[in-house]
């Protein structure tokens, strides 16, 4: 459709508004009369920008940063937990430093040099059947050792921050640990007085081992809550390590008494372990 040419009236309005524009331009160039309007608009623009940003972008950003920080926190928490468990293992060894190793010179040298690189490798839990551990006789655990792959860990002692858990009996991709509570396990124990020795067997119950002895031979008076230590006679475990306390004493007959020992260490507490290497 054809457009009509501007009428005289339109021409006049164009000329008028062009002149007004020029006048405004001249005024703006020569004075600061419009500065307030410009500043007001700038303030409005900035405020609008921030409000729009606050409404639209910030919620999305906060959601993203929230999820990201949550992931970071979880990762950080995991790392801290691992570091804490490791420090617990170290603390456990430090507290037993004079007696834990068969070769006491290792500790002595470390102490003299101020170099506490204890000879144990860190292991992580791969699997344990808690139902089997609570209900049944076979108490086994599988761990993965983060250490020297060439080293042999057969019969090495596995411990956590609470105490001794058992020994490695099978080496494959993962290491099978025979726990103290397994009924096939036998642990030579003694009392602090060194006047009572016994072979404590796994009870098949979580956290308990039992020891049968002849009271006519071992006349030492045993009380409940009395601490029990390893005797070191089996050749696997070092001596004088506290493993638990007497929980109950049952006189089966005149020739046999059974003591039930509650262990200090529970394999279900934590997923990080130490494996001693001699």
């Amino acid at each position: 459709m054809a457009r009509t040419a501007p009428t005289p009236g339109q021409k006049i309005s164009f000329i008028m508004l062009t002149l007004i524009s020029t006048l405004i331009l001249y005024l703006d160039l020569t004075s600061n009369n419009f500065q307030n309007i410009k500043n007001g608009f700038k303030a409005f623009k900035i405020s609008s920008f921030y409000i729009l940003k606050e409404i639209s972008i910030e919620p999305i950003k906060s959601i993203i940063s929230f999820t990201k920080s949550k992931d970071d926190l979880l990762e950080e928490n995991k790392n801290l937990k691992a570091a804490l468990e490791l420090s617990y293992l170290n603390n456990y060894l430090v507290s037993k430093e004079n007696i834990f190793y068969k070769d006491k010179e290792i500790i002595k040298n470390a102490h003299d040099k101020g170099d506490y690189k204890f000879a144990y490798d860190v292991a992580y839990l791969k699997s344990i059947d808690p139902n089997m551990f609570i209900c049944c006789d076979k108490h086994r655990m599988f761990i993965e050792i983060k250490g020297n792959n060439d080293a042999s860990y057969n019969e090495s002692i596995v411990f956590n921050s609470e105490g001794i858990l058992g020994q490695i009996i099978n080496e494959s991709k993962f290491y099978e640990v025979l726990l103290l509570t397994d009924i096939s396990h036998s642990l030579p124990i003694k009392l602090k007085s060194n006047k009572f020795y016994c072979n404590a067997k796994g009870s098949g119950r979580a956290e308990y081992i039992t020891c049968n002895y002849n009271p006519l031979i071992w006349t030492e008076v045993i009380n409940e809550s009395q601490a029990v230590y390893t005797s070191g006679l089996g050749g696997v475990y070092p001596k004088d390590i506290e493993i638990g306390y007497v929980n109950s004493i049952i006189n089966t007959n005149s020739k046999e008494t059974r003591i039930e020992i509650k262990l200090l260490a529970n394999p279900l507490n934590g997923s990080q372990f130490g494996v001693l290497n001699y």
Partner: protein, 157 residues
Amino acid sequence: MTSLFKRFFLIIFINFIDQNLAILFSKLFIIIPLTFLAYSFYVYKSDKNISALEAFSFGFFVDLISDTFFGLNATIYCLVTYFINQNANSFKLFSYLQICLFFGLSASAYVGFTQLITNLYDFSYITLLVSSIVNIIFCFFIALISSYFPQQLNIKL
């Protein structure tokens, strides 16, 4: 009314792109006045004459949002609107090349005029020359796109 708001929002959007591109191209002595070209194109494409008040309003609004001197764009927009209104029917006889030259050169005039007002002491002929060439090429480019993809762009030159 809705249409007017739509146009104002479009002007704001194009001006936003314009200002961002200006930062990019200024190092190459190029000024492409996208807002001015878009407005010219709107006047050119319109079926009816654009009133002087509308031209003045748009110009004044562009002055406000682009933070230039008040009246600068208002004056130019009034002049270009009048000129396009005056020759709206004549344009139909022109070829694409002539129309592109017209818009390219009017963009160059806009650049020259705004530079005279806003940047008098550092007025650069290189900027003016390079911008003229680039603006003409830019108009050709738009015309080519609209010729090859008329449906997609919905632009009729």
